[in-house]
């Protein structure tokens, strides 16, 4: 029953939600609206679950003195402080907490997050230098088109030759899009097949236990 009940719910709701799209009526609209609200509530629970999982992960790390365990103190302190400031800051009389929350977000979290992402630029430059070699005809073609697209997105491109942005646009609109369309079709068909497998109970990994 532990496994059959979820499978029955998925089968019934999966078919019902697919059918309601093709049968517009008051009942189907109300059902659709209600279920949409449920999804939003369930998604909120998922956040709670994620926070719980994060806390337990770090507590275990501290208890077992795993490598870098002291970093977990920083993570947990950040989590608790930001959550408290964010929640309590909404209470009248404690608005300073909200202001402090925004200061921490704007001057601590945002720059740290941006800095982490910015490091990518350094690795990309190094990786492009090492990997972008004209080893074959295909690689040469990729290299040339990459060059044109890169030049097309910066002002220097049009300063060198005013047709470079147009050629760059053509590369994006024709060869790039042809491949993207193919990928999108594949993804779409894959999603349909996976959805059907889940609805019909063929794919059961989402139940846990590797489908056994």
């Amino acid at each position: 029953m532990k496994k059959q009940l979820p499978l029955i719910i998925v089968l019934v709701l999966g078919i019902a939600m697919a059918l309601q799209f093709f049968i517009p009526s008051r009942i189907s609209t109300v059902t659709y609206e209600t279920l949409n609200r449920w999804i939003i509530v369930i998604a909120a629970f998922a956040i709670t679950l994620a926070v719980g999982s994060l806390i337990s992960h770090h507590i275990i790390k501290i208890k077992r003195r795993k490598p870098g365990w002291w970093n977990s103190y920083v993570a947990l302190t950040g989590l608790v402080v930001m959550a408290l400031l964010g929640i309590l800051g909404r209470i009248n009389g404690l608005n300073w907490m909200s202001a402090f929350y925004f200061k921490l977000f704007k001057y601590v979290q945002a720059p740290m997050d941006s800095a982490m992402f910015a490091i990518l630029a350094f690795y990309m430059a190094s990786a492009a230098y090492r990997a972008f070699r004209a080893r074959s005809k295909e690689a040469t073609l990729l290299l040339i088109s990459g060059f044109i697209v890169m030049l097309g997105v910066i002002p220097f491109g049009s300063l060198i030759w005013d047709k470079i942005p147009d050629i760059s646009e053509w590369i994006m609109m024709v060869p790039n899009m042809a491949s993207k369309r193919g990928i999108l079709f594949g993804v779409g068909l894959g999603m349909t097949a996976t959805s059907l497998k889940i609805i019909l109970g063929i794919e059961r990994n989402w139940l846990g236990g590797g489908g056994k």
Binding site: T29, E33, Q109, D113, M124, L143, M150, L151, V153, E169
Partner: protein, 282 residues
């Protein structure tokens, strides 16, 4: 010849140092490179520009985190400035938990530059979890997803929300995102509820959205920092904003880094070519 072969072995620390200089110098000494708006930035700008003032609001979803801030935050600011200058009403929401503080920060900053009033000219809806479910709920009734705004005030108490029910009452939805969430806006808001959708994304993900542009499922697209700088340029050109152009400054650094990467690739290939020639002679 030996020196040419060495071109394949430039120390990565040298590359890192040169990239750092290529970023820092243009930020300290701006180059003021010319900005020529691309076709899809112009299209998005024109769609916003043609929305009647003091009427139905534009819905902007700021679905990005601080890591994407340098590219996407100037987009949000430029679009909001354009709307405020033209008295186009704005609703801002986010489907990213960290996006709420960023969007609120942008609104607080820009609302001081223009004569706008909260609830009458703009509304901040805040974060809501559920992604596609939220998009679909807005298609039924925005009050299902957001019964109250980010400050706990019921939407019905906000004057500009009178008569705003779903996508049919929203002339344009703009998603600014650094993830594949734009696909979902196109699928659910655009295809299912026939909303007009435009987007702004990070430069690295732009290629993914060209099929939607060609099909008309996206009315316009801002391509990373370049798109943001183009929008800033259009705002300034039309007299809608006198604010400092954040993305345009960043674009100088991006341009120099692009050139530097291209130079490294050329050097690497010259070295590779000579090394290969030498080994084939042996």
């Amino acid at each position: 010849m030996k020196y040419l072969e060495k071109l394949t072995k430039i120390d990565r620390r040298v590359i890192f140092l040169l990239v750092a200089l290529a970023v820092i110098i243009p930020l300290v000494v701006p180059l003021g490179l010319p900005v020529k708006p691309s076709k899809y930035s112009q299209k998005l700008y024109d769609v916003v520009d043609n929305i009647p003032p003091n009427n139905q609001p534009v819905l902007i979803s700021a679905d990005y985190s601080p890591s994407m801030m340098p590219e996407l935050h100037p987009m949000l600011k430029a679009i909001v400035r354009h709307c405020f200058a033209k008295k186009i009403r704005v609703m801002v929401m986010t489907l990213d938990p960290t996006g709420a503080a960023l969007a609120e920060d942008a609104l607080n900053e820009i609302s001081k530059e223009y004569l706008v009033e909260y609830g009458k000219d703009y509304v901040f809806l805040g974060f809501k979890s559920g992604t596609s479910a939220v998009m679909m709920s807005i298609g039924q009734n925005i009050r299902q997803a957001y019964p109250v705004d980010a400050y706990g005030k019921p939407l019905d108490e906000l004057p500009m929300m009178t008569g705003i029910r779903n996508y049919a009452d929203i002339p344009l939805v703009i998603d600014i995102a650094g993830s594949a969430i734009i696909n979902q806006w196109v699928n659910y808001a655009g295809t299912r509820y026939h909303a007009t959708v435009g987007a702004g994304c990070t430069a690295v993900s732009t290629a993914d959205y060209y099929p939607f542009l060609q099909a008309g499922q996206l009315v316009g697209l801002l391509n990373g920092m370049k798109g943001a700088s183009e929008y800033e340029h259009l705002n300034e050109k039309n007299g809608y904003s006198k604010a400092s152009k954040q993305a345009s400054k960043g674009m100088d650094a991006v341009s120099i880094v692009h050139l530097m990467i291209m130079l490294f690739i050329v050097l690497g290939n010259i070295g590779y070519f000579f090394a290969r020639q030498k080994s084939s002679k042996k």
